[in-house]
């Protein structure tokens, strides 16, 4: 499906630019976006190295195992496919906590680590497993306690109280994350033919 969406986005955009007279913009945009991706990856190299290093300390000191154990009752309900004390659980916990505190760029390396652990027990290496879909649904609708970017944007726009949106945003994020988990469950039931987990 992603393949078709991707092809469709490019073809429809390019064809539209012929009629809209925006061929120049598209040419420029293509190169610019590739450049931006490289910049993004360079940023990732720095953040990934720093946080994966910190995470390795946490792992060797036993902190990650502690987090895995503490989060087990929570993880077990959300990821029924995951074996007890699987290392993925610890990374999932740290990723969701980093998201919760608004540390978006620290959350990414933990999430990638979690995906690698989930991939190691995936039966079909090309197809997303059940736990992966659940994890990513929770990530795209991650519960955020403090939306730092938007608060600083409102501050620079001169808001009298830039923090006024924190509480409604938190309520919205809790509800949308619950919706994501619910949709994930329902769609899994449909795909798996209604068999109980």
């Amino acid at each position: 499906m992603v393949n078709l969406i991707w092809i469709f986005m490019l073809i429809s955009g390019i064809l539209f630019s012929f009629f809209n007279g925006t061929v120049d913009e598209v040419n420029k945009g293509l190169l610019q976006s590739a450049g931006q991706s490289v910049e993004l990856v360079i940023g990732f190299v720095a953040v990934f190295t720093l946080w994966l290093g910190m995470m390795e300390i946490a792992k060797r000191a036993g902190l990650l195992q502690l987090v895995t154990k503490l989060g087990y009752p929570f993880i077990r309900r959300l990821f029924p496919d995951l074996p007890k004390n699987h290392p993925a659980a610890g990374y999932i916990m740290t990723n969701l906590s980093a998201n919760f505190f608004g540390l978006g760029n620290a959350a990414t390396p933990f999430g990638v680590k979690a995906m690698k652990e989930l991939q190691s027990m995936n039966k079909n290496a090309e197809l997303a497993s059940r736990s992966m879909v659940t994890f990513l649904c929770m990530n795209t609708a991650a519960v955020t306690f403090f939306p730092a970017t938007i608060v600083s944007m409102r501050l620079s726009e001169g808001a009298a109280d830039p923090l006024d949106i924190v509480i409604p945003a938190f309520i919205a994020t809790v509800l949308s994350c619950s919706a994501a988990i619910l949709y994930d469950r329902i769609s899994w039931k449909i795909v798996s033919g209604g068999s109980r987990d």
Partner: protein, 180 residues
């Protein structure tokens, strides 16, 4: 109230402190652990490049060709039938696709209507309570080489739509009844 901003800044260093103190207590060689863990960073990030270039190129073509704007203008009357301000439609359409584009729309709305206007607040709550689904799927699935995302994209986008509608409703309720 600014204290929250300050506390948010403390989370990162506190996190590192907890890790380092636990290393001290358990007599873990923290430095060599850091160095060997960090080695993975370069490769992990580099592996993401083709996925990112592919997805960002497609998004950029959609935006720079003007197609995204055209679809937005075409569909925005739909919004009024659901009693959602039409000004928010570009944000609804862009938020799951491109984080930077969505932020610039929110900044633009805030600038146009002022920070205390309900539309600016709705946009801020939408921005603060959702994430860029397409980008997250690209990065995380790309990192492990998954090419078939299964239900993830459909579920993610549906959750985004639900979340954004909820954000509008909650903002309206909050600023009319709770906030004074």
């Amino acid at each position: 109230m600014i204290d929250i901003v300050f506390l948010a800044k403390l989370i990162l260093p506190l996190f590192i402190l907890v890790i380092l103190f636990s290393a001290l207590i358990t007599r873990t060689d923290a430095y060599s652990a850091f160095v060997s863990g960090g080695k993975e960073g370069l490769q992990m990030a580099a592996e993401l490049l083709p996925f990112l270039v592919g997805m960002m190129a497609a998004i950029s073509v959609l935006r720079s060709s003007g197609l995204l704007l055209w679809i937005t203008n075409l569909l925005s009357p739909l919004f009024l039938t659901f009693h959602i301000p039409a000004e928010l439609f570009p944000l609804f359409l862009t938020r799951p696709i491109s984080g930077t584009a969505a932020l610039s729309i929110t900044a633009d709305l805030t600038h146009t209507y002022g920070t205390e206007h309900i539309i600016s607040r709705m946009a801020a709550v939408i921005q603060g309570s959702t994430d860029t689904t397409l980008y997250i799927l690209t990065v995380y699935f790309g990192a492990v080489g998954i090419k078939k995302m299964g239900r993830a994209l459909a579920v993610g986008l549906l959750a985004d739509l639900t979340g954004m509608i909820l954000a509008v409703v909650i903002t309206l309720w909050y600023f009319q009844n709770v906030w004074s």
